[in-house]
Symmetry: C2
């Protein structure tokens, strides 16, 4: 054991966030906060000092910020990640001889004991820090050193009001603080509770500061307690035997869009202005202003690649397609090319470029679909048969879920001998579209490809580009979904689509945002997808669509809808008990009346505007659910990083009728005073209510608007607003 290790007495353990012992990074968007906690303690009862260190990866110097004790030896610190890329963080802690000494001195002085030896002992502690200080600090520490030894008079100290106020902007101010073990007995703890500084000593210090120059022991005690000395000692600590946390941990900081986005999925082939024609990318381009006007940030297109003919599916997933049936976009590859080509009926790669440029002009990004599978007609099948599994007769193994066969799809064999060739080729697909400006990918069924492939591919892409977003479409076992997020997926589909009751939503969103999962898994909530038309939407009507939209858009900073079926409240399933759409766009070209009077576009626009304007909705970590005495009404808040912006969302989950109830808000969590009125401004209806206390009446009619999205602000009590029970407009 080396000399430092042998004398490092502080223990740091239980650091959070730390994912799988540091195997994986946590994830943040630019400007977000990282809260770090750890169990930190030492033998004995001496005072500890703990700092959280962070830096941009590979930066030369750490930035340090003090940690403060919570309870039960748990310490807390936090920092903001101000730019993209990898950041590192770790903890350093040490025994603070100055604070330890000062506390003992205080107790002895209060007990009226002779402390002349203690003052000399303190001088020795200062002496050690003094030797490590420079310039003005060293001069001042020398003065204190001499004063405590009695070599100089306090008058020599620049103990002015200025120096005392320095404490306010101190860079470093470790707090002396011990917490008793939770024992019911007074005799069990051998630790003691300390408070930083003593009022008596501060009073003495004040007296010295005002200029009295009595060089007696009592005044030397007061000098020892000077705020300036405390700051100087904190800035020049004796860290010879400091302990570092055992692992340097990292956070991947991505661009803002990774953490806050509204997605809009649409099929370009259904974008022709007239019915009966196969739409093109040019037609889709013409729709973009409408999508942008609704406030979406990402337009996501299902695969735009050539569609295979072999075993092509017909309308409603029929096994036998007619000669004019357009096929399923996920059956990728034909004689016109594969994953790097554009389906001829949609246009050309240049048409895609124009589409993407137009989206960009409108402030949106285009997301492409990465579906790593092939139609039997894909060029890979003939060029690289070694990338597929083969049946005993030499034919290529199609996808199956026995006894079901999916003969239009050939999965890749990731275990094949040329797996490296396959991986490189698949990465080259991503590179191809990145080179054309694509920065966002929705990944189809990532959970049916190896985890190591994704870790490798996303790692490679990240190393070359800092701004690529991957959305994992994995509807599978929770741990598989979480693993994909750990491996690098920026955002993830969730079970939200099937979580409709208050209990389900509360339990699920609490798991996603308040557990360790929230450190790396970014939920992207979709009320519908081309594969999922939930019964709630099938039967709930317009109110159900509005409720699910509000939930998706406010429960998570990232959400999306599959339109225009969503805004048109399309709700007919293929058959009873099916979650498939009737006449799904997956298998045929549809034509939509986007300007229908019944469209939810205005409502969607309002929701997206609220999302953009309110910082509270840009992150999920502040999500808190609040009680309502009606199981059909859910209420939750989010709070902006500065604590000021507070959004309370209240949703009637019953699409069949009006529901009312009383809230029980956790006001302390919201920075609101239980005894002062506050304003609840409904951002959906612009109604303003004056509320007071935790208990407030809500009533929501799904036939009008099934939700409140309320901005809560402290206000002076006013008499021009009705107090108490309120109903929405």
């Amino acid at each position: 054991m080396n000399d430092i290790a042998g004398r490092s007495r502080v223990v740091i353990e239980g650091v959070t966030p730390e994912i799988d012992a540091g195997r994986f990074l946590i994830r943040r968007a630019e400007g977000e906060r990282v809260v770090v906690e750890a169990d930190i303690f030492a033998d004995g009862t001496e005072a500890l000092a703990c700092v959280l260190r962070y830096r941009k990866a590979r930066a030369r110097r750490w930035i340090e910020t003090p940690m403060a004790p919570l309870a039960n030896d748990r310490w807390h610190g936090e920092f903001i990640v101000s730019e993209q890329g990898q950041w590192d963080y770790s903890i350093v802690a040490w025994i603070d001889p100055f604070q330890t000494w000062l506390h003992g001195l205080e107790k002895k002085a209060e007990a009226g004991l002779d402390v002349s030896l203690e003052l000399l002992g303190g001088a020795a502690v200062i002496d050690r820090s003094r030797k490590g200080a420079r310039g003005e600090a060293r001069k001042k520490l020398t003065t204190y050193f001499q004063a405590l030894r009695g070599d100089s008079t306090p008058a020599a100290l620049a103990l002015t009001e200025r120096s005392k106020s320095k404490a306010d902007d101190a860079v470093f101010d470790p707090t002396v603080h011990y917490v008793e073990p939770p024992s019911s007995s007074a005799s069990s703890p051998s630790t003691v509770r300390l408070e930083s500084g003593g009022a008596t000593m501060r009073a003495l210090g004040d007296r010295v500061a005002t200029g009295t120059a009595v060089a007696d022991q009592r005044n030397r005690v007061a000098i020892a307690a000077a705020e300036e000395l405390r700051d100087l000692m904190a800035a020049h600590p004796d860290r010879r035997f400091a302990t570092k946390s055992s692992r340097t941990l990292s956070v991947m900081v991505e661009r803002e869009r990774a953490g806050f986005s509204a997605w809009y999925e649409m099929f370009p082939r259904s974008c022709a202005p007239e019915a009966g024609r196969h739409g093109t990318l040019a037609d889709a381009e013409a729709i973009l202003p409408d999508v942008a006007a609704m406030g979406f940030e990402i337009v996501y297109l299902p695969p735009i690649h050539p569609i295979g003919r072999a075993f092509r599916k017909g309308p409603n997933n029929a096994l036998d397609a007619g000669p004019d049936d357009p096929g399923c976009p996920w059956a990728i590859g034909s004689e016109h090319g594969g994953h790097k080509a554009v389906h001829p009926e949609l246009g050309t790669v240049e048409d895609f470029d124009r589409f993407a440029s137009r989206a960009s002009e409108l402030g949106m990004e285009v997301a492409l679909d990465l579906a790593f599978q092939c139609s039997p007609d894909h060029p890979y099948v003939t060029d690289h048969p070694e990338w597929f599994r083969h049946r005993a007769d030499g034919s290529i193994q199609y996808a199956e879920n026995p006894p079901k066969k999916y003969q239009d799809i050939f999965p890749f064999d990731f275990e094949c001998e040329d797996w490296q060739g396959l991986w490189n080729e698949l990465k080259s697909v991503v590179d191809f579209w990145i080179a054309r400006g694509v920065r966002v990918f929705r990944v189809d069924n990532p959970h049916t490809k190896p985890f190591r492939f994704w870790e490798w591919m996303i790692g490679q892409i990240n190393a070359e580009h800092s701004d690529i977003i991957f959305l994992a479409e994995a509807f599978t076992a929770p741990k598989v979904m979480y693993r994909l997020a750990k491996l690098g997926f920026t955002q993830s589909y969730t079970y939200f689509t099937w979580r409709n009751t208050k209990w389900e939503l509360t339990q699920y969103m609490t798991e996603l945002t308040q557990s360790e999962v929230g450190e790396y898994f970014r939920p992207c909530l979709w009320p519908n997808t081309p594969d999922i038309l939930h019964e709630y939407l099938q039967t709930g009507g317009r109110g159900a669509f509005m409720a699910r939209l509000v939930l998706a858009a406010t429960l998570s900073a990232n959400y999306g809808i599959y339109g225009p079926v969503f805004e048109l409240c399309e709700a007919t399933p293929r058959e009873a008990d099916s979650e498939e759409y009737l006449e799904s766009e997956k298998y045929e070209v549809r034509h939509w009346n986007r300007s229908s009077q019944t469209s939810l576009r205005e409502f969607i626009t309002r929701i997206n505007t609220i999302r953009r304007e309110h910082a509270a909705l840009h992150d999920n970590r502040s999500l808190r659910f609040h009680s309502v005495d009606n199981e059909q009404i859910i209420a939750y808040t989010k709070r902006g990083a500065d604590g000021e912006d507070v959004i309370l969302t209240v949703v009637n989950l019953d699409p069949a009728g009006t529901q009312s109830g009383w809230t029980d808000l956790a006001l302390d969590d919201l920075g609101l005073d239980a005894h002062e009125p506050f304003e609840a401004h409904d951002l959906l209806t612009d109604a303003r209510y004056t509320w007071k206390g935790a208990r407030n009446y809500v009533e929501l009619d799904p036939g009008v608007v099934p939700a409140h999205v309320l901005c809560l602000t402290r206000r002076e009590a006013q008499t021009d607003h009705m107090n108490g029970a309120q109903s929405n407009a």
Copy 2:
């Protein structure tokens, strides 16, 4: 990425037990069980095979045992550690192509599809395993290979009843099993639920086994499902791309005494047969048969070293001792020597040897106290002043808790420049007593010495001796106590002494036995110590002592009492609101009437006998609390490793009066049938009750016996026992 890593598709994460990412070992006693769990999953829906591997550290070969799936991708395995020393464990998991293929074949065959290509595919899977097999197994696999290809007839296969029954003693039988993600929708999971084997196919296999030789496809399917083939394939898996858990974890296996022990603390100086004389080790030796007769396994002596004179404490911790006051045994060191010497008034080192030999003859071990601190008269103080902190005047810093001074004690300075010299000397103290045959040490205040010191010292001792037990006397913050256990302490004092209510006991013992803490922290429960006479004992009388004894002895496999004050129900505090004993043996010589009529020795003997005879009480992991509808009555069970021995302890926590209530036993946990009567045999009173179902009446009078210690056994319904409500004798 190497070829294996790239194709290793299985993920193993969340392995438990794993303490601080493998930084620390878990702890077991010889013969105990280690239960290992992990999240194990892969991309796709193929079948997995998982084995738990374990071995004595540095052994050449791993022993493997199959793991079985629980739910939500969690897998379970376990092994028994059969001998002392360090053992390692890890997990290996891989995709099982045979089970995957067999399941698909089954589904297709059931659906009546042509499976000729599938049968050839299966032959290819068998072929790969065949090449790795030898002897008889290879021959058999070849036969199956040919049969599935249609090259041979089933008659060539030894498909007899014998080969089918092999499944019963199969070494390895991985179960194909997928669990649906917890989604409320039928459409969300892309995984499916499989059951191992199909009844239809078994039936077909049976037909083949009886000798029908129809070489059609149908029969080849039946051959594929043969149990023998399944066993052969399981024994010769294709593990080329297997995944190993990322860390090899370890368990420290100690001797049985580490996990099961009853301690008896006594002051030798109070062992003189006549009052008024300072007892000797020879006097203490004469007491040993009494202690052994009560059933204790460890006799623990407070420090037996020379006691200092400087600042010696008088009776009741008085600051000024009279010339004849014997001093406090923890003020170690005088002109007669230090930690390697025996206090002259107690005798010589040879007297200690005789004492220890006698204890050994009686089946007991002697525990010495390691109190690493010095009286000012300790030889170290003059020989090694560098091992202590010094005050500004050059004097040595005494212990203090400002403003309190403990001038009779000098703590060591573990941060001193010669820390390595100090550490080596302290270890030599332990070595000295180990050389004299001591195998058990009670360590005084380990939490005031550096963690690294203990880790180093215990590590060194463990490397040289496999059988040394260290009990940590740390009454401090919980995380500090847990850390000491992680670092190597065999057993630990706890907060039990201050946990008296049902809620406190339940919460605390659940934390200690059912959380990760239970993997490395062995609680040793003491109802009293020389420092702690709890108010419950001060006021509760004999019933309180009995209740606390039963709790300590049955809640934990390790417990101890400080006697004879305990068995004599000595309960007078030094003053009101104090937990110190009046006229404590810490500061004076006492004389005890060990043969008092009111002694609890018979009761203690009974308890210790029950402990020895019942395997259920030898471990804490099976501890389960059961509801009783009376807050004054606590009920809990323990169950032996074989599941047979079940002990239900019921204690009336109210020493003031009789309490009664109805139990609500979790019978499923106890292997008892809710509809069959069972016997509850009270091991304290020998009463036998016939109980049935969860709900049973209990009534306990602290004036008689405040507890039941019931052995529960299944029995045939009998009519000669009263059913239902029972009271104790």
